[in-house]
Subunit: 419 residues, 2 copies
């Protein structure tokens, strides 16, 4: 522990010095890094793919799950998308230096609230090596130094990526410590990192709920958390049922492993009989397992009875929990009880019902007549995102460049004193 | 511990239900509460003063420090100011429901980022009973339920205040659990409260650095922290020295016990000889003790030699640390090393130097040609403040109504799905 603390202090001190420099880097210099990083990744594609192939081979030998191996794998197409992503981040506006608001106070004092970088980020993630590049790029453009703690299984891929990201830093005169990979042979390093509140301003863990809770419990610095997406679609009495069917199918089946997939369906009793048998039969033909309340099971006999645990679950799979509710009030209560504060949607053509749902549901995103899958940084116009926050602080929902910033006040006087 | 957890869960559940209701309360209802609370406090002044007199008598018997007893004491004038403060908060714009930004995305999806309350606040404070009223009023206007954990020494005053605040809730039809006082006979209750992350969204401790660090280390929820204000005034080579003298005197002497008082003076070597003897002599006649670097001690012999601990200290007293620096770079390095990220000021007429100081100093507020004492919510136009945050998240600097809010996204579609 002692040993790791001093290693972390060394990294942290270097990162903090780099952050001071990055905070002052202008947009041209940061964009030049994005350009050079893309060029270097493109030129190094062959070596990257072979380093990755070695990681994949090891993972296969170690018997890792096929889904994990798929996430680990780089292909020429994935590499091209990654490199293209750098240009997309280059095209985004630089948030740093933006004057968020300002005023001239009585007496003539000028107040400006100005956007500044956070400082040093610690990014903890798992097997996907592409995330290394995305996270580094978002950090550089937002003027933050970053410590990248990737998964052991991707260590060769990440080391190879790091040589290119670091070379691009040198190309444009940014400090080497702006992007550091912190790989650890044991969990003690992670613990030491999480205790380094003096050096690290914000921790962003990406992974399962267990990892995130463990990080949050240990961390001495603020943590941007994404716990769970238990997302509901509520089909109101005044819903366009054909639209509801499409939103349900899209929310559940378009990419069931994502945090904004629809996990639970609530249906107003007045339309349950018309809606459920057709809509659920369609899902079933696409392999979705239905776990329903007693009314659901009666209207759609292939459904299995749902337990409370099913209503609380984030399945991340082709499973859907279903409950028939007597009214909007009951739907709101169900969402308040079981929802995870991530994404909640209503299908209704009745304006006052939509307005009430929007006001009363406490979630990062509340949607009317739209698929839960649309809760996403690129859909919302934020550009690339580093995650979706289920916290209320400091950012909520999709976290892009702006969410990697904070602000400070500039105050301009001419000898002003306090009376 | 077990016992307190269940008590806290009961309070927390009630507070959460109240928060759901408060989030939907409209401005008129919240303002009506502020009006009624003022009327009830005014009508109950006599009983309030006698409850407070009993607290003060106990504190005197217990031998509490005179400064603490002064903070504890209510007078007719202080009570009138408190009651007037409610009308000032009433006059502030309601932040809830404000559309922070919005856009129509390609494809027609409408995105709105809307300001909403945080939920349930836990406010931990010490002897000043007026804070009970301020904190409750800021919470109500921003639509948050609040748990107030005041000091034991103010328990009679706070209990009497609570009867009026609660009666005003009943007057306007807001739930009683919107404002709850949580007084504890022992520290175990505080621990249980800090573990209640399921019920409490944000903790705001107000008090000494030790209390705040203890709370932050224990808390399962985000904590809005105010650690220390070690605020510097840097007198540049291009400073108007007469202005510098006035800013120094105001920053150090106008109210030395506050977090934004000037604790440390940095002076460019080129003006040290002209500035220091006069400016420090003036402070000395006002009872300020000077702790200086060797050059300072040479130029102003009454100064005592300063240690690093003096440069790091928040004196909150008539003491000033002084260092002569060779250039702006050295001043920036000193501030980066010893500053607390609270308030930093420069005196200079040289535009590029001011611009560089504004950009490079990492603090909640950076001032040019203005007293550090001006870093304040009312000066900045935020209205009443619940504290000044030395954190970078979720709010930085003065925390008023807006800083007691978060946001959610409203997304309006017409059958939009993810492709």
């Amino acid at each position: 522990m002692q040993h790791w603390s001093s290693v972390v202090a060394e990294w942290g001190q270097a990162a903090r010095a780099a952050a001071r420099c990055l905070a002052l880097a202008d947009t041209d210099q940061k964009n030049a890094w994005l350009t050079r990083a893309k060029e270097r990744l493109d030129a190094g594609a062959e070596r990257l793919l072979s380093a990755n192939a070695a990681d994949v081979a090891d993972a296969q030998t170690a018997g890792l799950a096929p889904a994990l191996i798929d996430r680990l794998r780089l292909t020429p197409a994935r590499l091209a998308a990654l490199s293209q992503g750098l240009l997309e981040i280059r095209a985004l506006p630089d948030p740093i230096g933006q004057v968020i608001e300002g005023s001239r106070r009585p007496g003539g004092l000028e107040i400006r609230k100005v956007r500044v970088p956070v400082g040093v980020l610690l990014f903890i993630y798992e097997s996907r090596p592409g995330v290394t590049v995305d996270a580094a790029a978002l950090a550089m453009k937002s003027g933050n130094a970053i410590l990248l703690r990737g998964g052991k299984e991707a260590r060769r891929s990440n080391a190879e990526l790091q040589t290119h990201l670091a070379a691009a830093l040198a190309d444009v005169g940014l400090p080497a410590a702006a992007i550091q990979q912190v790989t650890d042979p044991d969990r003690q390093l992670l613990t030491a990192l999480l205790h380094a509140g003096d050096w690290i301003d914000l921790c962003i863990p990406r992974g399962g709920e267990g990892l995130i809770r463990a990080v949050a419990a240990e961390a001495a610095m603020p943590v941007l958390k994404h716990y769970r997406g238990n997302c509901h679609l509520y089909v109101d009495a005044a819903a366009d049922l054909e639209m509801a069917r499409r939103l349900l199918y899209n929310g559940k089946c378009q990419r069931p492993g994502t945090c904004n997939a629809t996990e639970s369906l609530l249906v107003h009793a007045a339309v349950a009989e018309r809606f459920l048998p057709v809509a659920l039969a369609e899902l079933q033909t696409h392999g979705v397992e239905i776990r329903g309340c007693p009314t659901t099971c009666r209207l759609f006999p292939p459904a299995r009875p749902a337990q409370d645990a099913d209503f609380a679950a984030e399945f991340l799979d082709l499973i859907l929990s279903v409950r028939v509710v007597p009214d909007l009030e009951a739907a709101l209560d169900h969402v308040a009880r079981f929802g995870s504060g991530h994404t909640e949607a209503i299908v209704t053509d009745h304006g006052p019902t939509a307005a009430r749902f929007l006001r009363e549901v406490d979630a990062a995103a509340v949607l009317v007549n739209a698929s839960t899958r649309l809760h996403d940084g690129s859909v919302f116009g934020l550009g690339a995102e580093i995650g979706i926050s289920t916290d209320k602080f400091h950012a909520r929902g999709p976290c892009g460049l702006v969410e990697l910033t904070t602000y400070k006040y500039h105050v301009l006087g001419s000898g002003h004193v306090r009376h």
